[in-house]
Symmetry: C2
Subunit: 390 residues, 2 copies
């Protein structure tokens, strides 16, 4: 951790029209990755909401999940839909943009303005494709720290996020404890499980099986591996919901047909729902980014960097933690979130743990869950009060 | 139900070399399907083990699951592997072929000798492909009843099977109560859930996304939709295992590499295991059969044929039932199996219910599970004793 004041880095590029703000780092400021490779130049696309106070002490970093981006609380430029955490972030909401300066960045490897496999490799003048270096959750967090430096923020009041966003939150607390006043990882884990790696691998194989993928070199082609990416999204989407929620929402209800078609059209509502999820995803997401970001999740094993002892990742931390899980989440079940809480306890950290009753599965963290918002605003409010933020 | 002695139908074809025995029904004996269409001619491929006794009273019908076939207890002609239920069926085993005459048929729609989408449509002289009519679990059971007739068996001592085999078992007991002396449905449900339909739909979309699928018309092509089928199998395979079993068996263990590759090769053992499952499956299974059989499972909703009241499917039954589930099975969880047991109770049936403690997920029914075999042999032995079979 830098003990000194962070260096103010000058953005090299003007903010892009569609991706919010950007900050760019040249070849003189390479990001050294866990793989040993360097990423340079590097552009980070981000959005901010609310005002940074004079003391630069009210910043909250929100980290997005696999398919998310920087548009946490504002209309998405491609889909026109509300921000992915519009329920939680905004004026008067749990993460109150009247009080806090909220930052959300597109992760490296992403496809909404931050450098990723769809970016141009300056060495070749061509799109990176699979020439893009593999990135890890720690690399994503390193890039975010460069942005936080560039914004002149020494310490974040809070870091939070669900799923892969929770992984980044944990990594922030481990890598930069002095820069994270409080951390709220939601519906996440300190390591990706075998089952989760398995589901990610199915998604990757679906993409790679699509002949339009062309070994990742599809950028100049008119056809992108949309079918493979849609199948990947469909498989993943099932894991975001609970069996109970699927049964309640869809059960065996038929589409607008009156009877079974005795064919392969979408007879059941769950089928047309899943097909819709697959089809709309490909309009806003890059297949290679999907490969890279799922791989980063698979590689995540925070304890491994600390001799296999998770508590060591948090030894001596002064960060305030709040861990949140949902009862019906089977992708990042309560037991994995509790493992983090236990490690924090073992490290003597200030930690609270909340398991929220919900039948909506992993997706619950993105939905209208009042208990989540109460937990958030209570935790953030207390952190702000202790830190002396009005 | 035929009250009279069953008609002895003459097999029209000699047994095929690779698919065990076959019985064939000509256009004069069409199978009328739930869709209203007729299937004729129809060949049913089957295997038998043990000897039918003089009274023709010791026959046990074993019904296979989605990816199974008639080779329940003998070497598979394509893979060379032991039968899929070799643990359970054989001389001195739970389903003891020294005592019982075991019959196992490839379901209609299948690809191991029974008429399916890879068969030649006599109307066109070409492979059916998607011209094959959609079949249901009830249609599969109707075809099996034609075979049982042809074998001169009036009443089966038992019908059993796991997963889709359990669906057939339930359908047998509902459609032909007088012909089923005892029934043991294992790890199954009386209807396919929204989540299970969802996983099947992902598999179908993976196959249909493969350009080699060609709308189902790939038979004359050199290239089959193997990549799509492999992805479908990989996704399904995850659902056959429990999170706990995956963690125990694979965890985050790496393949023979010493470290992460920082690439998209199979770094984790779970990845190479899944890829292997996908690759080997395509050597023995037809992609169109996969579409048809998953669709039959999706359509299964036994209560729907009885005014929505499952107990009505079993009203007045004299069949003895034993329902078996496994604690860690999340594809056909205990609650779905219990629903069947409750309906049987409501119908006043003779039913026992056994939940077996296992962390091996849905796959447990195919594995070496002594408590399953004890349950089976006890249930079958009691049925045989009450029926007066030595």
């Amino acid at each position: 951790m830098p003990e000194a004041q962070p260096v103010f880095l000058r953005p090299l590029k003007a903010p892009a029209e569609n991706t919010g703000s950007t900050v760019a780092f040249g070849t003189d400021q390479p990001l050294v990755l866990d793989s040993g490779k360097c990423l340079a130049p590097l552009t980070i696309a981000y959005m901010t909401y609310g005002q940074l106070n004079a003391a630069r002490s009210n910043a909250v970093l929100v980290c997005h999940a696999l398919s998310g981006d920087q548009f946490v609380a504002s209309r998405h430029p491609l889909t026109g839909k509300a921000g992915w955490w519009d329920y939680a972030v905004g004026p008067g909401k749990a993460i109150d943009t009247n009080r806090f300066f909220v930052i959300c960045t597109n992760v490296i490897g992403g496809c909404m303005g931050t450098t990723g496999p769809a970016s141009v490799d300056p060495k070749t003048g061509q799109t990176y494709g699979l020439g893009f270096p593999l990135v890890t959750i720690r690399d994503m967090v390193r890039a975010q720290a460069m942005l936080i430096d560039a914004l002149g923020i020494d310490q974040l009041l809070a870091v939070t996020g669900g799923s892969m966003g929770g992984m980044q939150t944990l990594q922030w607390a481990a890598s930069y404890p002095e820069r994270v006043y409080s951390a709220m990882p939601i519906a996440t884990a300190a390591r990706h499980s075998a089952q989760n790696i398995a589901f990610n691998e199915v998604g990757r194989q679906a993409i790679m099986a699509d002949p339009s993928w062309r070994g990742g070199d599809y950028a100049r082609s008119a056809v992108h591996p949309s079918k493979g990416l849609a199948v990947a999204r469909m498989a993943a989407h099932i894991t975001y919901l609970s069996e109970a929620a699927l049964q309640r929402k869809f059960g065996r209800q038929l589409t607008d047909r009156n009877a079974l078609s005795f064919g392969f059209d979408a007879d059941f509502q769950i089928e047309s729902y899943l097909r819709h999820q697959g089809m709309t995803f490909v309009d806003r997401f890059d297949a290679n980014s999907y490969l890279y970001i799922t791989r980063a999740m698979d590689y995540f094993d925070l304890a491994a960097d600390y001799g296999g002892v998770l508590a060591e990742a948090f030894r001596g931390t002064k960060t305030r933690f709040c861990i949140v899980s949902f009862t019906s989440d089977w992708l990042f079940p309560t037991v994995e979130n509790k493992r983090v809480a236990h490690a924090l306890n073992a490290a003597g950290a200030n930690v609270s743990f909340v398991e929220i009753e919900s039948d909506r599965g992993h997706d619950a963290f993105l939905l209208d869950e009042p208990q989540l918002f109460d937990t958030m605003s209570g935790f953030l409010g207390a952190a702000a009060a202790v830190k002396g933020i009005g």
